[in-house]
């Protein structure tokens, strides 16, 4: 019932690997990570959701907030996700039109 976050530079972008659950309790941690990356001048982010087990509306809010944040710096935030459960959430919420969603980190870069 926890969230793990690791960040690494790759191919000129910053990959944020997320594991565990993004819910109302853990979402603030993800938001802080994204905010501090942007503050440090990293505007091209790839958020890898492959090891995410749970994503609720608060988590979606954080991802969208991150996207808005990088866009003000002409940056980008794309997602890596192949899990049907999560993809369905992105489809229902119409976020497939908002985020670039890739099957793996390599194609996101």
């Amino acid at each position: 019932m926890d969230l793990s976050l690791t960040t690494r530079p790759e191919g000129g972008r910053t990959v944020v690997e997320v594991g565990g659950e993004i819910d109302v309790y853990t979402a603030p941690k993800l938001r802080e990570t994204i905010v501090s990356l942007v503050d440090a001048g990293h505007y091209d982010l790839v958020v890898d959701l492959e090891r995410v087990e749970f994503l609720d509306s608060t988590g979606l809010g954080v991802l969208v907030g991150g996207l808005k944040r990088v866009r003000t710096h002409d940056g980008s935030l794309s997602l890596v996700c192949t899990q049907e459960r999560l993809l369905k959430i992105f489809r229902i919420t119409g976020l497939t039109k908002v985020f670039e969603i890739h099957p793996d980190v390599a194609s996101a870069i």
Partner: protein, 405 residues
């Protein structure tokens, strides 16, 4: 070398005091040790003072009422605690033992008394007493502290209860007090807050638009707490006000408002289904037109025994894009058909550590209630929600709309 000791010297310098008195108490013999303790000279004492003269007033009283009578009756006393009065005015605590010496005819002639230095013992007793006092004070302080803690605890409980009251009033203000009676329609709703002290972010409503139409919506604000409640309130009133327009326009209005209002600072989003109902009194059918802003698809349960999710042409999560299109979907409820709206608190509820309730489980359960009253379906779902092994992490709202059979 053989060491010897003289009896006289032992008497004089023994580590205890010794004295002999006549039966009336006049001192006839006293050793140097005791004279030293008293600070008196032999001349001042022998034949001039009585044993009682060596004692404090309290000691004298005790001597007359207890020591002397016991001595006369039993011929000996032992270990009596008294205080000697020193020449310099100080006191000298002692333990006294006495025996009466009798002559050949059995007449008492002398009292021989041994006096032990009880200063250490007295100090020890005082220490004990002080210790007891300290313990008593500590106990009183602990009692006081406990009492204060209890008062503070009660205050905190009262504050908490007050906060909870305030929050539940606020929460209630975000939900309709009761659903209105809609002719030709049977309704039921359910709301569960995951936390009693955090305002939930789910909302729903049902209200009259004009003579023929009724508006309804159900939504979920991303996040929790006062900030989410502010968005909930904004969403509710915006949708109510926009209800005269078609559902797509109402959602577009809310989308634009959220996008603009929360453009700076912490962004806020919500998902919502918004629609209108037009019951036909002649046929008993209810025409439904609705649009979705990123919300999970409503479930249509036909009286005939089918249950299917009604996928809309997806509109996005409200508040993300400056403008958006929310194309409406139309359907017709035949008498006995139910349209169920829910938030992801239901489909994302944890059955246990590894499993979520999910859409299929919802559909399976709903099928069993095909043709049943709306209230029975909502009750069954609320029971399912409360039966999970893991406490619900998210808020859940349910709204069931059924064409009266």
């Amino acid at each position: 070398m053989i060491v010897t000791d003289s009896t006289e010297e032992v008497y004089e310098t023994a580590p205890s005091g010794h004295l002999s008195t006549t039966m009336d108490g006049t001192i006839v013999k006293i050793n140097a040790t005791l004279l030293g303790w008293l600070g008196l000279t032999r001349d001042a004492v022998i034949g001039r003072m009585r044993f009682a003269d060596l004692l404090t007033i309290g000691g004298r009283l005790y001597n007359e009422t207890h020591l002397a009578p016991s001595l006369r009756m039993q011929g000996a006393v032992s270990g009596i605690a008294l205080e000697l009065k020193r020449d310099d005015g100080g006191r000298f605590p002692v333990l006294v033992s006495s025996v009466v010496k009798y002559d050949e005819t059995g007449e008492p002639v002398l009292i021989r008394t041994t006096v032990f230095d009880a200063q250490i013992r007295r100090a020890y007793e005082e220490e004990l007493l002080r210790g007891r006092q300290v313990a008593e004070e500590a106990r009183q302080q602990a009692d006081l502290a406990r009492h204060e803690a209890e008062i503070a605890h009660r205050q905190a409980e009262a504050d908490r209860a007050q906060l909870q009251d305030a929050l539940s009033v606020l929460q209630q203000a975000l939900l309709p007090e009761r659903l209105p009676d809609v002719p030709g329609l049977e309704t039921a709703s359910y709301y569960h807050t995951a936390s009693a002290i955090q305002l939930g972010g789910d909302f729903y409503d049902l209200f009259a638009v004009d003579q023929e139409r009724w508006g309804f919506f159900l939504g979920d604000v991303c996040g929790k707490g006062p900030a989410a409640a502010a968005v909930t309130s904004l969403a509710r009133y915006t949708l109510r006000a926009a209800a005269l327009h078609d559902p797509g326009s109402a959602l577009a209005a809310l989308n634009a408002l959220l996008n603009e209002r929360f453009a700076t600072g912490d962004p806020r989003y919500c998902t919502a289904v918004f629609g209108t109902l037009r019951p036909d009194p002649d046929t008993g059918q209810v025409a439904v037109e609705f649009a979705s802003g990123g919300h999970p698809p409503p479930l249509l349960i036909r009286a005939g025994g089918t249950a299917d999710f009604v996928h809309t042409t997806d509109g996005t999560l409200l508040g993300i894009l400056p403008s958006g299109e929310f194309p409406p979907t139309q359907l017709l409820l035949e008498p006995g058909d139910t349209l169920l709206l829910y938030t992801d608190g239901l489909t994302e509820a944890r059955v246990d550590e590894d499993e979520f309730y999910g859409e299929q489980a919802l559909r399976t359960l709903a099928l069993r209630y095909a043709g049943a009253p709306a209230s029975e379906l909502v009750e069954a779902l609320s029971e399912v929600l409360t039966s999970f092994g893991v406490p619900l992490a998210d808020d859940t709202a349910l709204l069931a709309l059924r064409a009266t059979p």
